[in-house]
């Protein structure tokens, strides 16, 4: 009888301990962010263009001389303008506020070479096919070869900032492109390696 009681007691203690650990594990798991998933299925071109048409890219590839900003792509506050060298006006430079990295205190984003894309690289308002064509056109892409374009798209720190966009002035995280960085880089390289074919639409 006594042995039976002891057995029951030990078994219930063991079950209790297992349950407590299971619970801790469940909580820990729920805190671990899930691996970033792509919101875009499809060919490498589709994945690449889903990124390049995202606001993190297009805001600084405007069709006018005014940068855009924010999730709603509003015209940059304070009448900020492109200027002669795409880095702003003589005494109101991009670098007056944007430094080499994000500033989490002010919510001002930053990355090396923070500036607008030259006017010839305006993407705002273009379809993804038009953007891709302009990217491959040396008269518009700054005379880049395909290899150099791929380098810009996959290694330029300013471009890759899109996946580290920091927080806005209210401390809210900025939206990232819909395809994870590694998957995007892979897609760009695969698209280029397969001949950089631009579909009809």
């Amino acid at each position: 009888m006594n042995n039976k009681l002891l057995y029951l007691l030990l078994t219930s203690m063991f079950v209790g301990v297992v349950l407590v650990f299971a619970n801790i594990e469940a909580e820990t798991n729920s805190q671990t962010p899930a691996t970033e998933k792509s919101e875009v299925e499809g060919a490498p071109f589709d994945k690449m263009m889903a990124v390049l048409t995202h606001k993190r890219c297009v805001n600084c590839h405007p069709s006018s001389d005014y940068p855009r900003q924010g999730e709603d792509r509003h015209v940059h506050n304070f009448g900020v303008q492109r200027g002669a060298d795409n880095h702003g006006m003589p005494a109101l430079r991009c670098e007056s506020c944007h430094q080499h990295e994000n500033n989490d205190f002010s919510g001002v984003p930053g990355a090396p070479e923070w500036s607008l894309a030259p006017r010839s690289m305006a993407w705002e308002g273009l379809s993804r096919v038009e953007i891709a064509k302009s990217m491959l056109d040396p008269t518009k892409n700054g005379g880049r070869t395909l290899e150099e374009t791929v380098h810009h798209l996959t290694e330029h720190e300013l471009v890759l900032w899109a996946w580290e966009p920091g927080v806005d002035a209210n401390g809210n995280p900025r939206e990232k492109p819909p395809v994870p960085k590694d998957e995007y880089i892979e897609a760009v390289k695969a698209w280029a390696a397969a001949g950089a074919v631009i579909p009809e639409k």
């Binding site: 304070f78 006006m89 109101l92 430079r93 007056s96 430094q99 080499h100």
Partner: protein
């Protein structure tokens, strides 16, 4: 983290978190209270100072970026005996009202007239986008033109 820079002609070393905004190092560590805090979000320009002669909004500038650089605040712009043209013009045009925004405007103007010696109204609109709650913009514009004039003539005298 130890950061060394030159401020208003004096070498300085501070030991702070490198991400501290330069504004707070200037005000709270170096006790130079002329540079003001307005918004903390690079929106108003009250905190404008110069880094290597460029106007910078110091509330959004981590002090670590100042390493080895030349920083100028309103305290270093001129002296009572030898006013900077911007200071002279500001006095002549009696620009300030409450005064809070003025150091930022003056630093932004000092940078402007170095780059655009004869700014038009359009240049002023495009480059000086600070905010003045007392709306001294009208006098400010006159003072900016006057500062440019004084700066030009002081340069001619120097030559």
């Amino acid at each position: 983290m130890k950061i060394s820079f030159n401020i208003n002609g004096q070498p300085q070393t501070v030991d702070v978190d490198g991400n501290t905004p330069l504004l707070w190092v200037v005000r709270d560590v170096l006790h130079l209270k002329g540079t003001k805090f307005g918004c903390g979000k690079a929106a108003c320009g009250a905190c404008t100072l110069h880094v290597e002669g460029e106007a910078v909004r110091s509330c959004s500038y981590s002090v670590k970026f100042a390493e080895g650089k030349r920083v100028t605040t309103i305290e270093g712009l001129g002296t009572k005996e030898n006013l900077h043209p911007v200071q002279q013009a500001w006095i002549e045009e009696v620009v300030p009202q409450c005064g809070y925004c003025q150091p930022g405007f003056m630093m932004a103007t000092a940078a402007l007239i170095e780059k655009v010696p004869n700014p038009t109204d359009e240049d002023i609109d495009n480059n000086i986008v600070n905010i003045c709650r007392c709306a001294t913009y009208y006098r400010m514009r006159k003072a900016i033109h006057r500062a440019a004039e004084l700066n030009q003539s002081s340069k001619q005298i120097d030559q």
